[in-house]
C-alpha cells in the first residue's frame, strides 16, 4: 500500500486529527478516563463469562473468544419458575417499580418546581425544607416507612416501593427541574396571561414543552436511582416483588459468594438503564434544537 493510500484511509477513519500534538494529549486523556470507567465493567463482564475455577485460578486479562461461557447467564434466566435466581422476574419487578416511581416523581416534581418558580406561599422555606429530606441517609427512613407501608397495606407491593422512593427522588427531581424552568423568562408566562391563559395554561403550553430535555434527564436519573436502590427493598418487598439489586445480593451468602453469577446479574442489571439512556438521549437532542427565547 502506498503512503498516500494509507493517509487517505487514515483520514477516512478520522485519524487525521492525531496530527496535532495537543490533540494527541486530549485523546490520551480521554482514553485514560475511559479506561478508569470501563475497566471495572470489562472485568465484571469477564468474570461473568468464567467458571469459579477459572476465577480463582489465574485468569488471563483477555477473554478467550474460543472459550466464552454463557452458563452463568443461563442459570440466571431459568425456564421454570424458580425462586432463587429468577432474574427475568427481578428485572420486571425493578422495571415496574423504577418506572412507576419515575413517573410519579416527574408528575409531581414538574408542577411543584413550577409552583416554586411562581413563588407561591412560603415557597422559599418549603423549597429548602424539601432538600433536607436528602440530608439524612435513606436508611434513616427505613423503620418509619416500614410502619407506614404496613399500615397502608402496600408493603410488599410495587406501589409501596415506588411511593417510598419518592422520599429521596422527589427532592432531587424538584431541584433539577426547578433549575431548568427558572431559566425560562417570566415574560413568556406573561405573554400567556395576556393572551388569555392562566397558570395551568403556562404549565402546559410553556413550562413542560420548554423544559422537556431537563425533564427527560431528571426522569432518567430518578429511574436509575430507583432501579439501583437496595436498602428499602430488603424490608419493603416480598418474594413476588423482589428487585434485581436483591437478586444480585443473594449470591453473597454466609457460606460463600458466587462471584461469577453475581457478575452476570450485574451485567444484566446494566442493560435496561443503557436502553433508557439511549432513548432519553434522543429527546435531549431534539429538545436542544428549540434554541433561545430572545433574538
Amino acid at each position: 500500500m502506498s503512503t498516500e493510500r494509507l493517509e487517505s484511509l487514515a483520514k477516512r477513519f478520522g485519524f487525521h486529527f492525531l496530527e496535532n500534538p495537543r490533540q494527541i494529549l486530549v485523546v490520551l486523556g480521554i482514553g485514560l478516563v475511559l479506561l478508569w470507567i470501563l475497566l471495572p465493567v470489562y472485568w465484571t463482564l469477564a468474570i461473568s463469562m468464567r467458571t469459579t475455577e477459572e476465577i480463582f485460578g489465574s485468569p488471563d486479562l483477555l477473554l478467550n473468544p474460543a472459550s466464552l461461557n454463557f452458563e452463568n447467564y443461563r442459570i440466571l434466566w431459568p425456564v421454570e419458575d424458580q425462586q432463587v435466581a429468577n432474574f427475568s422476574r427481578f428485572i420486571v419487578n425493578s422495571a415496574i417499580i423504577a418506572t412507576l416511581n419515575a413517573v410519579l416523581t416527574t408528575v409531581l416534581a414538574v408542577p411543584a418546581a413550577y409552583a416554586f418558580r411562581l413563588g407561591v406561599g412560603y415557597s422559599k422555606h418549603i423549597f429548602f425544607w424539601i432538600l433536607t429530606n436528602r440530608m439524612a441517609p435513606p436508611a434513616a427512613f427505613l423503620l418509619p416507612m416500614f410502619l407506614l407501608t404496613s399500615e397502608l397495606n402496600i408493603i410488599g407491593t410495587h406501589w409501596g416501593l415506588a411511593i417510598v422512593y419518592l422520599i429521596f427522588n422527589l427532592p432531587l427531581a424538584i431541584w433539577l427541574v426547578y433549575g431548568i424552568i427558572k431559566a425560562i423568562p417570566e415574560e413568556i408566562d406573561e405573554a400567556v396571561y395576556v393572551d388569555g391563559g392562566n397558570d395551568f395554561t403556562v404549565l402546559k403550553e410553556v413550562i413542560v414543552p420548554l423544559s422537556k430535555p431537563g425533564i427527560a434527564v431528571s426522569f432518567l436519573l430518578v429511574w436509575l436511582f430507583a432501579w439501583n436502590h437496595y436498602a428499602f427493598t430488603l424490608m419493603l418487598s416480598d418474594d413476588s416483588t423482589m428487585t434485581i439489586t436483591q437478586g444480585i445480593a443473594q449470591f453473597f451468602t454466609t457460606v460463600g459468594t458466587s462471584w461469577n453469577l453475581m457478575a452476570a446479574g450485574t451485567m444484566l442489571s446494566m442493560l435496561p438503564g443503557l436502553v433508557l439512556a439511549a432513548i432519553v438521549q434522543k429527546h435531549i437532542v431534539t429538545g436542544l434544537t428549540f434554541g433561545a427565547v430572545k433574538a
Binding site: 423568562p185 415574560e187 413568556i188 406573561e190 405573554a191 400567556v192 396571561y193 395576556v194 393572551d195 388569555g196 391563559g197 392562566n198 395554561t201 403550553e205 410553556v206 414543552p209 420548554l210 428549540f290 434554541g291 433561545a292 427565547v293 430572545k294 433574538a295
Partner: protein, 391 residues
C-alpha cells in the same frame, strides 16, 4: 375597544415608588404614548394596565368597569413585549394562533387558519409561518409579536418599546406601519417609548412621565410648544432647550431679564402676559438651540456668548457657547464658525419661554420665526389621520 382610565394609581416596590399618584384618561380609539427617560415608570404603568402588576394604590377602569383586581386574561388586552416574548417552541403560525385558541369565543380551526393567514399577510410574514422564532430576523420577530397582539380585537393594545430592537431604517418603516394599522383598526393603544421622535410621530396625545409622576399630557404640538416646566422643556427637543436665570427689571414701560452678564429686552407681548400673571422677579428663560440666531451687532434683544466648541454635523452646526457662566447650544447654518473658539458673538433668540419661580411655564413669546417645522408636519399628519378615521 375601550377608554382606559387610571385614578390616583401608585406602585411601590419595597422602598422604591416606581409610579406616584398617576391620573390618566386614554380615550377610546386613541393612540396614547407614555414618554419618559429610563426608569421613570413607563413599563410599570403599562404592566398595571395589563394586569401583570397590581397597583399599590388607586383604581384602573376600562370604560366604567373597575378592573383593578382583574387578571390579565379577564381584561381582554393584547400586549407587545419589549423583547417580543414569542413562544420559542411554537412556529410562527402557532404563535399567531395561540391567543385565538385561548379565547373565550370558540374559534373553529378554519377560522383560526384564516385569521392567521390574514394577519400574516397584513404583516408580510406569510413566508415565515412555518419557521420557529429563532430562525427569524429581529424585524420579522417584531412583526410576529405585533401579529400575535393584533389577531384579536382587544379592548386595548399595549406596546412596550416595540421598536427598540430594530435598526433605524426598519424602525421608521414599522413606525408608519403601526400608524397605518391604528388608523385601520382604531383600537385604543397605549404605547411606551423613551424616544421622543417616535412619540411625536405616532401619538394622538403624549403623556410625559418623570420619576413616576405625570409631567404633562397633551398633543405632540402642545408638549413641544408649551412645555409646562423646565424639566419637560429640557427633555423634549434635541439638542435640549437652553436655560438662563435672571431677574425681571422694569424701566420706562419696558421689561428686561438681567443676569450677571446679559440684559435681554423682553418682547412686548410677553410683558403683558408676565404682568397679567403677576410673575415675581425670578425667572428662567428657556431658548431652544434652533431658535437662536447668530447676529452681527449686539443689541437690546441679544446675548453676548463666548464660543467654546463647534460641531459641524453636515446640515447644521452646533455651537457650544457660554452665556453668563452657563453653557448653551446654538443650532446654526454651517457657516465658517471654525476657528472662532474663544470669540464673543451676539445671539438673538427668536422665541423665548418664561418659567416662574415655581418652575411653571408663564408664557411663550409669539415667535418671529415660526413654529418649528417638525411639529407642524406631525400635526398635519395627525389631522390627516383623523380625517382618514372619519371616512
Amino acid at each position: 375597544m375601550a377608554q382606559v382610565r387610571l385614578e390616583g394609581v401608585s406602585k411601590s416596590f419595597g422602598d422604591i415608588e416606581a409610579v406616584s399618584d398617576v391620573d390618566l384618561t386614554v380615550e377610546d380609539g386613541e393612540f396614547f404614548v407614555l414618554l419618559g427617560p429610563s426608569g421613570c415608570g413607563k413599563t410599570t404603568t403599562l404592566r398595571m394596565i395589563a394586569g401583570l402588576e397590581r397597583p399599590s394604590e388607586g383604581t384602573i377602569y376600562f370604560d366604567d368597569a373597575d378592573v383593578t383586581d382583574d387578571e390579565p386574561a379577564e381584561r381582554d388586552i393584547s400586549m407587545v413585549f419589549q423583547n417580543y416574548a414569542l413562544y420559542p417552541h411554537k412556529t410562527v403560525r402557532e404563535n399567531l394562533a395561540f391567543p385565538l385558541s385561548l379565547s373565550r369565543r370558540d374559534y373553529s380551526s378554519e377560522e383560526i387558519d384564516s385569521e392567521t393567514e390574514r394577519v400574516a399577510e397584513l404583516l408580510e410574514i406569510t413566508d415565515q409561518l412555518d419557521k420557529h422564532p429563532k430562525n427569524l430576523s429581529g424585524g420579522q420577530q417584531q412583526r410576529v409579536a405585533l401579529g400575535r397582539a393584533m389577531i384579536r380585537e382587544p379592548m386595548a393594545f399595549l406596546m412596550d418599546e416595540p421598536l427598540s430592537n430594530l435598526d433605524a431604517k426598519l424602525r421608521i418603516q414599522m413606525r408608519s406601519e403601526l400608524k397605518r394599522l391604528h388608523r385601520k383598526l382604531g383600537v385604543t393603544t397605549v404605547y411606551v417609548t423613551h424616544d421622543q421622535t417616535e412619540a411625536m410621530s405616532l401619538a394622538d396625545r403624549i403623556c410625559v412621565l418623570n420619576d413616576g409622576r405625570v409631567q404633562q399630557v397633551g398633543t405632540p404640538h402642545e408638549v413641544f410648544s408649551r412645555p409646562r416646566n423646565t424639566w419637560i422643556a429640557g427633555f423634549i427637543g434635541d439638542p435640549p432647550m437652553n436655560f438662563l436665570h435672571g431677574l425681571l427689571e422694569r424701566s420706562d414701560g419696558e421689561v428686561f431679564v438681567a443676569g450677571d452678564a446679559f440684559r435681554y429686552r423682553v418682547p412686548p407681548d410677553v410683558v403683558e402676559e408676565l404682568d397679567a400673571r403677576e410673575v415675581a422677579e425670578d425667572v428662567t428663560l428657556g431658548i431652544r438651540p434652533r431658535d437662536l440666531e447668530v447676529v452681527e451687532d449686539p443689541g437690546q434683544d441679544t446675548f453676548p456668548a463666548t464660543v467654546l466648541t463647534v460641531e459641524p454635523t453636515g446640515e447644521r452646526s452646533i455651537l457650544t457657547a457660554e452665556v453668563d457662566g452657563r453653557e448653551i447650544k446654538i443650532e446654526t447654518e454651517p457657516r465658517e464658525f471654525m476657528g472662532m473658539q474663544g470669540e464673543t458673538i451676539s445671539v438673538h433668540p427668536q422665541k423665548t419661554y418664561y418659567y416662574d419661580e415655581a418652575d411653571q411655564l408663564a408664557t411663550v413669546s409669539s415667535a418671529e420665526g415660526d413654529v418649528v417645522e417638525a411639529v407642524e408636519v406631525t400635526d398635519k399628519h395627525v389631522e390627516e389621520v383623523r380625517k382618514d378615521g372619519d371616512t
